[in-house]
Symmetry: C2
């Protein structure tokens, strides 16, 4: 149930929409607004979010070229797709937002091409899984072009836009720039609020920044990663929600901490569930762990049941301690639930031996007696 | 891929089917077989399983009266249902096997009645959930009769069988006795193998019994419960599989332990998923915890997505330590996956505050940003 600014005002909360904060003066504890007025504060909470990165090429400001981070951008895309006879879309980038938009655009019957500077989509996931995602795109009529350097976006002839690349030009009614986001820290930086190593605003477990009286929450700030034990920038909506509530509680006088994240994430692309939690081999090695990993394919539900599907599980563990460090999963079904079943495990420091014999709620309509999680852990154990 | 006794013999393993062990002589380390011969052993592994309990009434041996624990019983039911013009079935008992059989019998078009001595099915689950399961039975044409005392099974007139109860007689072609199982410990007891408090064979973490050289695995023995920290009897197939492998490893010279269970369990009844892990309020109190609990209804997937369904979550935590002790879930979808997402939590001693902010793999097709798990934990926290 959305509340209007009027509703907030009735509760004594002054909500100002379409109002830009131009500057924060941390010393005098005042913010200067776009209308020239100032507001004094005892407590300031920064929720400036993240900004979609625009690649450094010409033409990204042309009509029909969009990014997708903020609600306004989503509404603008929806309107554009609805009003114009939008036939062809080109997506620059192959992260999870690009994947979700492939499905959304194809559902509208729009011819969709992904241009990617690398070889496989969604770099967080194992190449074995990346290949299957690329196949899923092609199966659903998405052209997935690899090793492409996008050089410019121009006005076109037959189509309103032309994407110029090192491998030829592509016509488009719509171009979506999906090459990642960066934390919006301009205001914070100017006010002397310290940033972390990731480039996002540094916070503590109460969501306080390094400046007295200033909190930060959401995509503009860091989170503590319970596996790498580092402060990282993971701009995802569920984390933002949690941090907002923790900051609110502390501001309101109720002691509360945000315990941190395990890097759990998922997306759907056409018929595939894709999920991950924890860290991958490279991140593990960077944190000083000794990673070993294994990928297995198991049955999402008991193979005796009708409609059984395969699900792939990839686990990473530390050779030295035996601890589970990360999990990835992909399949038509049962992938997200497997990653979630392991979401508490790195938090709890569970070892790969324990994961291999984890007590899960088995019944044939929901899993085999030996769940793919067990098989993955036992396979990895034998490699260690 | 099932292996025949011949195949085993080729690998040097002497498998004897249709052979009963009549007696174990632990002192001389020999077993006496039904054909009168004896076998000496260095190591003996007991996997005698559990036996379906037959209520102490007359007529349980009549043709058409079945229990369902062993494969042979399942095959006999299948044959009976296939060969006879089986129109009416009466199930005595309302546990999860009864629930699964309701669905199986209705799928064959058989008129099915459950007679239950209590008020609600599956006593492990909260009455709120029990009521919904009873409604699901009725919605699918199963008559669910409560407060019924089954007094006898007799030969009938219009139908082969008649179930005599304190609330009238019921005609039946088939009667299924589903009033629970007990561990089959006769051989073990006679051989002086110690039983645990639960009545099942006592084992240690290596699956060794109290008798040198004798192991036990599966439904005949106990498991260590990681939440109640007691040895319990939980006769479920996935646990049996794990214990078998642990015993096998130890017997084969590879040190291995079975780390224990959290009591995770699930079943499907028509359109409902039902799952639980951990302990309920009564078990918690019996173990000296100070239980508090809450039930909430949340969205299994983001409410903005088509086909969103409600899922109920019930959590139990300890007032003193804040620790999560148990979880139950029920819904058309997303119930088993929620319980599995919490399967590591009691193991790890996670608190209700941490569960309220658990990092799960959120995406709208799979969950709301605030998962029902979070909402349940936060609701329970406020009650504590």
């Amino acid at each position: 149930m959305a509340r209007t600014p009027e509703k907030f005002r009735e509760s004594g909360v002054d909500v100002r929409i379409r109002t830009q904060v131009e500057e924060i003066d941390a010393k005098s504890a005042r913010v200067r607004l776009s209308d020239g007025s100032e507001l004094a504060f005892d407590i300031l909470a920064l929720g400036t979010g993240a900004i979609a990165i625009r690649p450094d090429i010409s033409g990204t400001g042309l009509p029909g070229v969009f990014a997708l981070k903020r609600l306004e951008e989503a509404l603008a895309i929806k309107q554009y797709v609805g009003n114009e006879a939008c036939r062809k879309a080109v997506i620059v980038g192959a992260g999870f937002i690009a994947m979700e938009m492939c499905e959304a655009l194809r559902a509208r019957g729009i011819e969709t091409t992904v241009v990617h500077r690398g070889l496989l989509p969604v770099g967080r996931w194992d190449p074995d899984f990346g290949k299957l995602i690329a196949t899923e795109l092609e199966k659903n009529g998405v052209a997935f072009l690899t090793n492409v350097e996008t050089r410019a976006i121009e006005k076109g002839a037959d189509y309103p836009l032309r994407v110029v690349t090192n491998r030829g030009d592509l016509d488009a009614d719509l171009v979506l720039l999906a090459v990642g986001v960066r934390p919006d820290t301009a205001l914070a930086k100017a006010a002397g609020v310290p940033l972390g190593k990731s480039g996002a605003i540094a916070v503590d477990f109460s969501q306080k920044t390094g400046r007295e009286g200033i909190y930060a929450v959401g995509d503009c700030c860091e989170s503590y990663h319970l596996v790498s034990r580092r402060w990282v920038h993971v701009p995802l909506g569920d984390i933002a929600n949690k941090q907002g509530r923790v900051a609110g509680a502390n501001i309101g006088g109720k002691a509360m901490i945000f315990p941190g994240i395990v890097g759990a994430q998922s997306f759907k692309v056409f018929g595939l569930e894709v999920a991950a939690a924890g860290i991958d081999d490279r991140e593990a090695a960077a944190a000083g762990y000794h990673p070993a990993s294994a990928v297995i394919w198991g049955n999402a539900i008991a193979p005796s049941m009708p409609g059984s599907k395969k699900v792939g599980i990839r686990l990473v563990a530390d050779r030295a301690s035996g601890r589970l460090l990360g999990a990835q999963a992909l399949g038509e079904t049962g992938a997200v639930s497997r990653v979630n079943a392991l979401a508490c495990a790195p938090w709890a420091g569970l070892g790969i031996d324990e994961i291999g014999y984890l007590d899960l709620a088995y019944a044939p309509p929901f899993s085999p007696a030996w769940d793919p999680i067990h098989i993955a852990a036992q396979t990895l154990r034998r490699k260690m």
